[in-house]
């Protein structure tokens, strides 16, 4: 009967409804806060990339240069002593941001150095191909804010700039380098210094200094989204210490007189410190490069000048460190430090293409055409062009042989520090071989983000087929689960090639070939764990290993469709030729056509019989 049915009274109904709504609302809030907490627990990632920083250019790796911020990171994290990158800039950046071999990513070399014969080959574009996905895209799609400020050098068209490659906010310099004090190209091959903000042309502020600017803008980006609690990925590719080597005067002053004893003494000092810090084995031997001059043969004036070149270089390193410290302090002050992982590395070894005699009249004339001077008094300041000579570059890479653009350890072995509470490092130093392609898989594992997956038999992301990552996460090493993550099996081999310079890493061994004029165009075999200075060639002593590694290198070459360089290829000359063509090609054609027209009319004039 209806009379026996309990019918809620209107007031009770209202109470029940309100209670239900409250419970539902509360549940939603609780669920939302749990979700937010889970989200906020995902670590922030700060990826810092120095440019052309040598193996022992920072204090944690044995340098006399004061780098307290990097030392603090090293103290709170793990130093990798056997970490390798590409031997020059853009290929490293391609591998760093994708975990894919640089050839397959389209960046076999910097675009400025690709010979015309190879410029139509997809592996030799010098710009990041669309067949790869960046770590920034993966993180952004997983809810991360993604920021990038600094040198990009992986493409300058709208579809290639970082704003189209997964970065939410960007200020990017698209060239191989640029002035650190103003918006000015550092090489005549560029018409201007090409800076872009969020994909649009950007004009630098008047008070620009590269390292300060990069950190200022990164902080600005981080703060702009701090309220929403989402984690961030910040990529800071510094211009330091790429040429032109420039630094504020107050930093330069600290290093005046420090390098008066010369490059050979510095190379020895750094070796001793590196040994003391456990960066290299006690028995590490070194060899002197054929490009290293005899310091004692220099005049007093030349010594004074060279010492200042190096002082400015050291000052630029310290200035970068100073600004990294500002970022760390900011994250501490805003409560984000404890949930942030820092990854610091260099893109390749020290740069040795600076002239041995920087005071030569021809060089000074050429610099003046670019609006630069290299006078002693103003060296490193605004309007000054400074660089390292091959001799000090060799000290910067101490105790390693070779430097940038070469596959010797000095070109490829660089510092790597991973720090921060979320990594829970079990060891402070790792001597295991690691490679630049390991960084992206490491970041993905640290953030719990899934890499591209196989669908319908092919690796796909965002609806398109993509290249597979070849790197391996460093987390097992960091957490002390394993001693090494690349073994001695064939599938553990890591190959590398740059314009004919070649290397293959397998276990503790490295097969290496360096092209002339610095190298001898011969294959050598070294145990780089025991002999990082590459002084004892084992190719004659361990023929089976040599042959095995040669076979593996050939497989690597075939797998990545590596092309031979044209006969007579010299990297620096190709940069000049390509630059001349790109910058002045139209003018050269105009000149030739004008000459043809004038010659034709002159011939007509001569045929006419004037009185």
């Amino acid at each position: 009967m209806f009379t026996n049915t309990i019918r809620p009274r209107p007031k009770a109904l209202l109470r029940h409804t309100v209670a239900a709504a409250l419970i539902a609302g509360l549940s939603t809030q609780v669920w939302a806060s749990v979700a937010a907490e889970q989200t906020s627990k995902r670590p922030n990632i700060v990826l810092i990339l120095a440019d052309d920083l040598g193996f022992t250019d920072s204090a944690p790796y044995g340098s006399e240069i004061s780098t307290p911020a990097l030392s603090e990171l090293a103290d709170n994290g793990i130093k990798f002593t056997n970490y390798h990158t590409a031997a020059n800039c853009a290929p490293t950046r391609a591998m760093l941001l994708t975990g894919v071999d640089n050839h397959r990513a389209g960046v076999s070399n910097i675009p400025e150095m690709v010979p015309p014969e190879l410029q139509s080959h997809p592996h030799y574009q010098g710009t990041l191909g669309n067949n790869i996905v960046t770590v920034a895209t993966l993180l952004q799609d997983a809810g991360y804010h993604t920021y990038m400020v600094g040198k990009w050098h992986l493409g300058a068209t709208p579809d290639l700039l970082p704003s189209s490659r997964g970065f939410e906010r960007t200020i990017a310099m698209a060239d191989s380098g640029a002035d650190n004090w103003e918006q000015k190209p550092y090489l005549a091959i560029y018409e201007q210094a090409n800076w872009f903000a969020d994909g649009e042309r950007y004009t630098l502020p008047d008070d620009f200094y590269s390292s300060r600017f990069i950190v200022d803008k990164t902080i600005e980006f981080i703060d702009s989204n701090a309220a929403d609690n989402a984690p961030f990925f910040a990529y800071l590719p510094f211009q330091a210490v790429h040429m032109p080597v420039q630094a504020p005067q107050e930093f330069i002053d600290r290093y005046m007189g420090v390098y008066d004893t010369g490059w050979t003494a510095l190379r020895e000092q750094r070796l001793k410190r590196a040994v003391a810090l456990g960066i290299v084995p006690q028995s590490t031997a070194t060899k002197m490069m054929n490009t290293t001059k005899d310091w004692e043969q220099l005049s007093a004036n030349q010594k004074r000048y060279e010492a200042k070149r190096m002082a400015v270089y050291a000052a630029m390193v310290e200035a970068m460190d100073f600004h990294i410290a500002r970022l760390v302090t900011h994250l501490k002050q805003t409560g984000q430090y404890d949930n942030t992982i820092f990854i610091f590395a260099s893109d390749n070894g020290s740069e040795a293409t600076g002239p041995a005699n920087a005071q030569a009249a021809a060089l000074r004339f050429a610099l003046r055409q670019q609006g630069y001077s290299n006078d002693y008094d103003t060296l490193g300041l605004k309007g000054s062009f400074n660089s390292l000579s091959p001799s000090f570059a060799s000290a910067s890479a101490s105790p390693l042989a070779y430097y940038k653009f070469h596959t010797g350890e000095g070109g490829m072995r660089v510092p790597l520090i991973i720090a921060g509470q979320p990594i829970a490092a079990k060891r402070q130093i790792s001597h295991a071989f690691s490679f630049v392609t390991d960084i992206t898989p490491t970041i993905l594992e640290l953030t719990g983000v899934t890499p591209p997956q196989v669908k319908h038999g092919k690796l796909r992301y965002g609806g398109r087929e993509v290249e597979a990552m070849i790197g391996r996460s460093l987390l097992p090493l960091i957490r002390g689960d394993v001693e090494r993550h690349y073994g001695d099996a064939d599938e553990d081999a890591v190959g590398y090639e740059l314009a004919g310079h070649a290397a293959l890493f397998l276990g503790d061994y490295k097969l290496v070939l360096n092209k002339p004029p610095v190298g001898d165009n011969q294959w050598h075999l070294y145990n780089i764990a025991a002999d990082p200075g590459e002084t004892t060639d084992l190719s004659g002593l361990d023929a089976p290993r040599l042959q095995r590694m040669l076979n593996l290198y050939q497989q690597y070459e075939k797998r990545n469709d590596i092309q031979a360089m044209p006969a007579g290829f010299v990297g620096a000359r190709q940069v000049a030729i390509n630059g001349l063509r790109d910058r002045f090609g139209a003018q050269i054609i105009i000149g030739i056509i004008t000459l043809i027209i004038l010659t034709s009319f002159y011939a007509i004039y001569r045929q006419n019989n004037y009185e």
């Binding site: 139209a586 003018q587 054609i589 105009i590 000149g591 056509i593 004008t594 027209i597 004038l598 009319f601 002159y602 007509i604 004039y605 006419n608 019989n609 004037y610 009185e611």
Partner: protein, 150 residues
Amino acid sequence: MKNTLGSKILRAIVCIPAIIFIVTGLQFILDPAAAVKQFGMPLLDGVGRSSQIGDMAGFFLTCGLCVLIAVSTGKRVWFYPAAMLTSITAMGRILAWLLHDAALAINLIAPEIIFTALFLFAASRLPAPAAPAAPAAPSKAANQATSDAE
């Protein structure tokens, strides 16, 4: 007028603007982004770019080639198209300033007037090439042979 040193110098002088015009015309075809900067305009898109490159290249190449034809062949009438182009351009610039709020581009008008004057001067002063030598008078024997044949 003889082909004196003075006339040779005058030829060389008029060739200077001719070369500038030809280089500018070629620049509009081969490197328009750089060419437009000299004239205070952006590089247009679409049909605008087509007109910009085609018209400007046509103007400059015609101007320069007319002068070179005049100098090399001695046919002074070829100076007049070049003089007309530069003078009407200068006049157009002044009218654009007066009627359409354009800037008074003195730095462009002045050379155009100078070039016009130079071309007209050259047209009046440069020597014509010598007339080809008259054919030799036919001999009496030849005349007789022709008459016999007829």
